[in-house]
């Protein structure tokens, strides 16, 4: 009887402080497991194009490119929308150069960026907003992807397609469900800035949460498994 009372007291008082976090854990956890992670990641927002490089169109050889950009690194011959292009780094900068005639396509104009975004985007909605992001990216975009164009489409999930202004590549795809997921994750790990699970707040709350749960488990055990006995012994002190 003493244990029952002590457990009840501690369970109540601890839960008064950490109970809300239990609710947050369960709601954010449920959100994260219920929504398919591939959907969250916006895989269904984009088309994974497999357009092949047309060898006959290549009119600008690699040797010529290397003479023009002697320090070019990580060179790739790929396809941008429909034309063959060279993508490479030189001196911390990325470039997009037409493999047809050697025209430097980067940085992308707004029109080109929108054309690319529409090409990557699977939906049919209108473009509602285009902006070039060069510094201080939103949390949903890595700073390594800068500079990038954000092209927002009209849809209830508010999809954004991020196109690198330097390579023309798809560097981000986000919709509201992913943004909520990120929010849920930060609430789940109790780090509201860097989403890092190794933080002091989480540690202390977890510690008290475990204590509260142990007292709760003792309560359940006593009331469910020992409950019938307790009733038989009605009046027990």
């Amino acid at each position: 009887m003493k244990l029952l009372k002590t457990s009840r007291k501690f369970h109540r008082w601890l839960m008064l402080f950490v109970g809300v976090q239990f609710l947050i854990w369960s709601i954010s956890g449920a959100y994260m497991v219920i929504f398919d992670i591939d959907y969250i990641h916006g895989d269904s927002l984009v088309v994974n194009h497999q357009t092949k490089v047309e060898v006959s169109k290549i009119g600008y050889p690699l040797a010529q490119l290397q003479r023009r950009y002697p320090d070019a690194k990580d060179i790739a011959l790929e396809v941008f929308i429909e034309q063959p292009v060279y993508r490479f780094h030189e001196n911390d900068s990325q470039y997009l150069v037409s493999a047809v005639n050697g025209t430097q396509l980067s940085p992308l104009s707004q029109n080109e960026a929108v054309r690319a975004a529409k090409h990557y985007y699977r939906g049919h909605g209108k473009v509602v907003d285009v902006s070039l992001i060069t510094t201080q990216p939103p949390t949903e975009l890595s700073s390594r992807a800068l500079p990038a164009w954000r092209v927002n489409f009209e849809h209830f999930s508010q999809p954004s397609i991020y196109v690198s202004a330097q390579t023309g590549k798809l560097v981000g795809k986000r919709h509201q469900f992913w943004r909520i997921f990120d929010l849920m994750f930060s609430f789940h790990v109790m780090d509201y800035q860097d989403e890092d699970p190794s933080n002091q707040l989480l540690f202390w709350v977890l510690l008290f949460a475990i204590l509260a749960a142990i007292f709760g488990a003792i309560l359940s055990y006593l009331l469910i498994f020992r409950g019938s006995k307790a009733h038989q012994q009605a009046g027990e002190l």
């Binding site: 009887m1 029952l4 009372k5 009840r8 109540r12 839960m15 008064l16 109970g19 239990f22 609710l23 854990w25 369960s26 709601i27 956890g29 449920a30 497991v33 219920i34 929504f35 398919d36 992670i37 895989d43 984009v46 994974n48 194009h49 497999q50 092949k52 490089v53 060898v55 290549i58 050889p61 690699l62 040797a63 290397q66 990580d74 060179i75 790739a76 011959l77 790929e78 396809v79 699970p197 190794s198 933080n199 989480l202 540690f203 977890l206 949460a209 475990i210 749960a213 709760g216 488990a217 359940s220 009331l223 469910i224 307790a230 009733h231 012994q233 009605a234 009046g235 027990e236 002190l237």
Partner: protein, 618 residues
Amino acid sequence: MMSMIKKLHKWLSLLVALQLFIWLGTGLFFNLMDHEKASGNQYRQSLQVAAIEQARLIEPSLVLASAQPVVSIRLISLLAEPYYLLTHQQGLYRHLKSEYSLVHAYTGARVRITELMAAEIAQASYSGAGQIISVVKLSPPYQDIPKEKNQVWQVNFADQINTSVYVDSQSGRIVSHSNDDKRFVDFFFILHFMDYGNTGSFNNIQVIVFGLLTMLFCLTGFIWTVDLARHGQFNFSVSRQKRQLILLNKSQHTIAKFEVSKRVNLLDALNQQDIALPSSCGGGGSCGQCKVKLKTSSKITSAEQAHFNNQQLKQGYRLACQHNAGEIEQLSLLNDVALAKKHLLELSHSEFISPFIKELRFKVVGGYRLRYKAGAHMRFFIPAANGVSIPQRLPEALKPHWQEIALLQYQHKACSRHYSLACGKGQVDGGTNELVFTIKIQNAANNSVLPGIGSSYLCNLTPGQTISAVGPFEAFYAQPASNKTMVLIGAGSGMAPLKAIIEEQLSAAQVSKCKLREIHFLYGARTRQDLLYQAHFLQLSQQYQQFYYYPVLSNPDPQWQADKGYVQALLATQLHTIFDVSHTEFYLCGPAAMMTTAMEILIENGVDASNIAFDKFS
């Protein structure tokens, strides 16, 4: 509504408890773990990049002319040699199904990642001291890299942490490093995500179901907490202030005043004063037993709403455990003399009066007298002890009755048990120093349960031994004097409080010299041997014209001339022939089945509930 939420919370706890602890425990692990180790990259180093002689490079268009169509051709470096990586089919992510081929960038020769190359690439990415012990080509799925959908070479190193390096079998790319540290962490992820199929995902049906149940569990707990807070069940004051509590009896007379700490609840406050209200839940508001009466304006908690109707709440009925002493100035007890004190009793006499029932006589240590109304009971504190299923010192004559009882030695915990006082002298001359009980030794119904702990313990006491008890509690007693006929119906050892009431009535009439009302005692037993105090009652019925005794046997011997069957059956047949129901009070005490049937018979025959008193027999 609240009671449903509480029930839901209680039962959900059973469902989700284990997983909840797994979540909390693994969560703490993720919080504390070394992220460096968890990455699996303890011995990973970046690869050397080949210095490219531009003049020697073959033009990509030449390579493509004789290759399968590509979405990308990239100049890469493998083992300090330049290669063209041709991507024929590109997965949305690298771990998804893709198709690659490799061509040497100087010679144009098609190259495949052989076992040897894979080993060399893995070695180049490995900074540890371990030797390669095996190189195996594997197909998905993989234990270490569950998401990977392409064929890989697994290169295993002999080091303390069993490093494995995975190399893409088509492109030669280092897919991942893994080691025991990472595998350990992965195991915790499997537990946290309930990903028992090791798919590397957390979108499985079991985690969704448990997630939703847990959400409901937390929500009900949250609502409960809010409800507790709204009803002032959280008291933040840390003061040790005391206040005076005035205790009233049922008829609103002050019977005690004492100092209590403001922060304790009334149930505990009364307990500290040795006033033990009944409670089986210990103060959670769930058993509803610790009933008291407070000011009608006292707050009403959801537990009280579940246990009282509106009329009772308006009258001030509350549960003692739901209110702090700080909230109120006075409370009324519902049962008089719950102001019971603890007494030490010494056994003076112990005797079998039937094969399974003993009469125990105790003296109150200290020599003082206890006053009680007939029908009252005492609560005995049975200490933890070793028990035995068959009484010690069993008289020879009774042994045949105990033959079928299995001898069982057992240990039992401390508990408390109620027993009715079986003597009607509680109000004569300021009470009595001798307390009499008739106690049936409860045998176990089967081997899986223990025999009655309390009855066995008490009946095995030897004269001179002592035991503490609290009481007397007067919950069952004769109505104030009236001229109504009294009918007492009892069976087995349930006779004890009825015997006391009968004795009290008879002696009271004798003392006051007033006219005795009619008293009928219907008493059921199995056999003649089980009829307790038969001679005593026969003698009383001869001595007092107005006292009628009806023994009934359910399993009589052939010589038995009186009534046969169950006592409740006798009640049914006799009810209208002997008694005028509107002018009769009924007192019941006996086993549950007998009580229920008897009550039904009485109600069916138009007996007003106010004319029935019963003592639950346990």
